[in-house]
């Protein structure tokens, strides 16, 4: 225990003098996630806002045949583009996205009270065109409904006659819930910051020490090798956790710069939530650090260790992608899977919900056991004769 503490202090002191370690643990690790996050989110949010508010340019053929219709559509955001000769082939070749054709008989049918036809010409396989076509269809239908109701009123009938069923939608997503959908990737960025924060120290304190030939003298001291390992593991964990904590703070600050409220979302990352997230993440950090040390103690050189650790950084993206792509409801068994357990818990906290105590505690314990198993494998590598010998 005493030896572990000595090693811990020395590793921390040495790392604090290493610009590369400090840059990774205290700057790159914590900042990388939030910055990427804000940039991506700003882009998507402003993209969505743009699409909802911006005028809808449509090629209209025969606009003069239905002046009232066109006037009404213009009020809803339609921008009339001049007609082109062969509309169908223009749409097929994607030189125009969307066209509206007023049929020749429109005026006559309208006057006679027969259904008057307009044609919507678009290619549904083309990207993003479908939603524009839907928007135009919505405009046309509301015009149609309005005029239908007027005709009934003129004939002394209640417009409700043609609406026997009314559908009212009640969206149960809380503002936080809607936000958390977009924030499904945030847990991954948190895990990433923990990995980046611990990476250099994990490499430096095992593969690096061997490469610089200081591991052999170290191991000749009258202390057990697992005590040395524990010291290095704790130092790496300390940097990893610091990086994670800073990352949470950075995310909180980043939250202030998000136009999230424009979409009716709130992002629930308060200091209280941060203080709750940290202990939930501790066993995961221990597990990740032990895996990092396991990889570096296995590698033949620091460079090789770096390559493997780079790959290890991609692993935690898997549950994030699964959780954000598959709209599956959080099942209790998911809390028993290390990594997924913590990501679910973080997502719940961000939604402003309270944690289900038992599953989260179970996940905590299982992750802790997993990190002990990883530690046991590290210890096996450390006890091997070949550990200290370079070349």
């Amino acid at each position: 225990m005493r030896a572990s503490l000595i090693v811990f202090i020395k590793e921390c002191r040495e790392s604090m003098r290493d610009r590369r370690v400090m840059l990774n643990a205290l700057l790159l690790g914590p900042i990388l996630g939030p910055v990427l996050f804000v940039v991506i989110l700003r882009l998507t949010i402003s993209h969505q806002l743009d699409r909802a508010e911006k005028p809808l340019p449509v090629v209209v053929i025969g606009a003069e045949l239905a002046p009232n219709l066109i006037e009404s559509l213009k009020q809803q955001g339609l921008e009339v583009l001049p007609p082109v000769p062969d509309v169908e082939s223009a749409v097929r070749s994607q030189s125009i996205d969307l066209a509206l054709r007023i049929t020749k008989n429109y005026g006559a049918d309208w006057q006679a009270g027969r259904p008057a036809m307009v044609e919507l010409i678009y290619d549904s396989s083309a990207r993003e065109v479908s939603s524009e076509a839907e928007r135009l269809r919505g405009m046309l239908e509301s015009y149609s409904r309005r005029n239908g109701a007027m005709r009934l009123l003129v004939r002394g009938l209640a417009p409700t006659l043609i609406a026997p069923v009314v559908v009212a939608t009640r969206d149960q997503a809380t503002p936080q819930g809607r936000g958390a959908l977009l924030f499904a990737m945030l847990p991954y960025f948190l895990v990433l910051s923990a990995l980046v924060g611990g990476m250099w120290l994990a490499i430096d304190s095992t593969a690096g020490e061997r490469e610089r030939q200081s591991l052999e003298p170290l191991l000749i001291n009258p202390v057990r090798r697992d005590a040395i390992l524990v010291g290095k593991m704790l130092a790496t964990s300390a940097f990893s956790l610091t990086s994670l904590a800073l990352s949470l703070v950075a995310f909180m600050i980043a939250g202030w710069f998000l136009p999230a409220n424009k979409l009716g979302m709130t992002f629930n990352l308060s200091p209280t939530v941060i203080v709750t997230i940290l202990p939930v993440m501790v066993p995961l950090v221990l597990l990740l650090v032990n895996l990092q040390i396991l990889v570096t103690s296995q590698a033949k050189s620091a460079r090789e260790a770096q390559t493997y650790l780079g790959l290890l950084q991609l692993v935690p993206i898997i549950p994030s992608v699964i959780l954000s792509v598959l709209p599956i409801k959080a099942q209790n068994w998911m809390y028993t899977v290390p990594l997924m357990s913590q990501q679910l818990a973080v997502t719940k906290l961000l939604r402003g919900e309270s944690l289900p105590v038992q599953p989260v505690a179970l996940g905590f314990l299982i992750t802790l056991v997993a990190s002990l198993i990883a530690f046991w494998f590290c210890k096996r590598n450390y006890d091997s004769e070949r550990l200290a010998i370079y070349g």
Binding site: R13, S214, P217
Partner: protein, 245 residues
């Protein structure tokens, strides 16, 4: 006192050490002489418990290295072949780290470090970061950290490697001083002049075996040669032929 008894060690199919036995006594300098690849480093690594012998045993001051490795490491001061320092720590911090791991009190640590810095004449480098140290400066730091716990047995693997003439001379002086303090000094080398100048006893190793043992005079007599170098060549040559046959 360090006793090696019938040490064997192989790495896979390669037999590195095949039955090495010798004794290094207190108050003497014992030289482990042999060509490159003879098994010197592997033998020393078994002595200081970095490696376990396949068979045979090591006793340091009567304590078995196999069963009590931590106690044995406490009795040994070791300058291994690998002598990397922590570049972002000063020389003094490097030494202090090992003193702490040896379990020295703050008082003992300060006294020992001051003494070693004075003995090794490293006052001007003690508080500099070791990044950019010369070979000699690095060696001094590595020796100081190996001896910080005042061990009665000192093991050095090729200590003069990479040193200039001046540094080599002062290192020899230092080893003699350790001997005069009554310590058991054991070092390995492939350089003949080294052992001739320093050693009370010489153990010649070739192809993982002890091929000759004794004082310089005894070895010359054994080989019926006038100079130690001729004796060494003859003994090594015989071992090589024996090994090939």
């Amino acid at each position: 006192m360090i006793q090696a008894e019938g040490l064997h060690k192989s790495f896979g199919a390669k037999k590195a050490v095949e039955g090495v036995s010798f004794v290094a006594r207190d108050g003497e300098i014992t030289g482990l002489l042999g060509p490159n690849g003879a098994g010197k480093t592997t033998t020393l690594r078994m002595l200081y418990t970095l490696m376990r012998a396949d068979s045979g045993r090591v006793l340091v001051d009567g304590i078995d290295a196999q069963t009590h490795p931590v106690e044995v490491r406490r009795l040994l001061g070791v300058l291994p072949d690998a002598r990397g320092l922590y570049r972002r720590l000063t020389a003094r911090e490097n030494i202090r780290y090992f003193a702490a791991l040896q379990g020295l009190t703050a008082e003992q640590t300060r006294a020992r470090i001051d003494l070693l810095i004075k003995t090794l004449a490293m006052e001007d480098i003690a508080d500099r970061r070791t990044e950019g140290f010369s070979q000699g400066e690095r060696l001094k730091t590595a020796i100081a950290r190996a001896l910080v716990h005042d061990p009665s047995n000192v093991v050095l693997d090729e200590p003069t490697n990479g040193l200039d003439v001046m540094a080599t001379r002062s290192l020899r002086e230092f080893l003699r001083q350790l001997k005069s303090e009554g310590r058991c000094v054991l070092f390995s080398t492939h350089i003949m002049q080294e052992v001739a100048a320093l050693c009370d006893r010489i153990v010649i190793i070739a192809q993982g075996r002890v091929v000759a043992e004794g004082s310089a005079a005894e070895i010359q007599e054994q080989a019926h040669e006038q100079s130690l170098e001729e004796a060494f060549m003859k003994i090594i040559g015989a071992a090589a032929i024996g090994g090939l046959a």
